[in-house]
């Protein structure tokens, strides 16, 4: 149990998927301009991460059993792509409000490296099913935290007088650098809580 909490806290803060592991930078920079889109995108990512972790775990067991580990990448990305499509169709049919909220982000998630990244990480680290799910949840929540915080930073930045040559993407990246720096400060938490 302690280990699971550690996994969650680590995914959320110390090993934040976006700010310290550099997964999913494209949506982090592209979709973080407004708070509501940031939340929508992160919710879709958490959803797909959990679904694909649950789906790829048994598949991976099968692959290992048959000595076909080298097919992991191909199969995982296909599973994720198929899953995203299926989720889209199901949501459209049965959960219209949720679809309206998340739908537009779903096609973008297939190429979000955070999803494939977390699935591959779970396999690499040899996590059990429960650990994999918790790790994915932590990674997803970490993604959301980074997105939401950064949306706030960018909101503030709109009213700032930015030097001409940094306007646009460069100042966004410099701001991301500062947010990332602040996350460095969480390093002691895991140790302080005696989690590992």
């Amino acid at each position: 149990m302690k280990y699971l909490i550690a996994l969650l806290v680590m995914g959320l803060l110390t090993n934040n998927f976006v700010l310290s592991k550099f997964y999913g930078i494209c949506p982090f920079l592209g979709v973080s301009k407004k708070l509501n889109t940031a939340v929508g995108m992160s919710a879709a990512v958490i959803f797909v991460m959990l679904m694909s972790t649950a789906a790829t775990y048994p598949i991976n067991q099968l692959l290992i059993k048959n000595d076909l580990e080298y097919l992991q990448t191909v199969i995982f990305i296909l599973v994720i792509a198929a899953l995203v499509q299926m989720v889209e169709i199901v949501l459209k049919k049965f959960m219209k409000p949720l679809y309206n909220a998340l739908g537009i982000y779903l096609p973008l998630i297939t190429t979000n490296c955070a999803v494939l990244g977390v699935v591959l990480l779970n396999v690499d680290e040899g996590y059990t099913f429960v650990q994999s799910m918790v790790n994915s949840l932590g990674a997803g929540l970490g993604f959301m935290l980074a997105m939401v915080l950064f949306a706030g930073v960018r909101k503030k930045m709109e009213n700032c007088d930015v030097p001409e040559f940094l306007k646009g993407l460069p100042i966004t990246l410099v701001a991301a650098s500062l947010v990332s720096l602040s996350f460095l400060g969480f390093g002691g938490i895991v140790e302080g809580m005696g989690l590992i």
Binding site: M10, Y70, G187, V190, E191, I196
Partner: protein, 192 residues
């Protein structure tokens, strides 16, 4: 929705299927070609690490799994006498698993360390555990090594700046190797 002709449904399926089959076949082929090479490289890296931590040894015994995280093998000299042990220990670091090899002398002191893998440590901080200046601090230490951030003395080692978690992970790994040495290896030898 428009009506689909069978061709419109079948064609994409067949094409996709054929692509998948060809791709899997190619991968299978490459795997057959590289499998042995990859396995031999991994084995070689391990042997090399063993030779680093027990440089006097001529050969090593089969590796025995002492617990879930600790494995060890005996280092033998030319006459087949045991001159020390090489422990392989995994421990949780800052970003995931750290695997290190600990060379232990027959008197229970640390001979030398080597980092086998620390893939998820931060470059510039945690990854500095690979540096000799950090690893060599452990030489000659005995079980119960402690981490000190400022002025280490006695059986203590100096933690890396801003990488206390990685430093203590290595220390824990060394201590569990020494634990294993005292409880299993030495104890086992006395009993047997």
């Amino acid at each position: 929705m428009k009506k689909f002709s069978p061709k419109e449904i079948l064609m994409p399926t067949i094409v996709l299927f054929v692509i998948c089959v060809v791709a899997s076949a190619l991968l299978g082929g490459t795997n057959m070609l590289t499998e042995d090479k990859i396995a031999s490289i991994e084995a070689e890296a391990k042997v090399q690490a063993m030779q680093t931590v027990m440089s006097d040894a001529v050969s090593f015994s089969e590796e025995a799994q002492a617990s879930e995280t600790v494995a060890y093998c005996e280092a033998l000299d030319a006459d087949g006498n045991v001159i020390g042990y090489a422990f392989t220990v995994s421990e949780n670091g800052y970003g995931g698993e750290i695997k290190i090899m600990v060379g232990v002398n027959t008197d229970g002191t640390v001979r030398k360390l080597a980092v086998l893998s620390a893939d998820n440590e931060t470059p510039g901080l945690g990854l500095n555990i690979k540096k000799d200046s950090f690893l060599d601090q452990f030489i000659g230490k005995v079980n119960g090594i402690a981490v000190n951030k400022n002025a280490p003395s006695g059986n203590e080692i100096q933690a890396l700046t801003s990488a206390t978690i990685s430093s203590s992970a290595v220390t824990r790994a060394v201590n569990s190797a020494l634990d294993c040495f005292e409880n299993e290896v030495k104890g086992g030898a006395e009993n047997g």
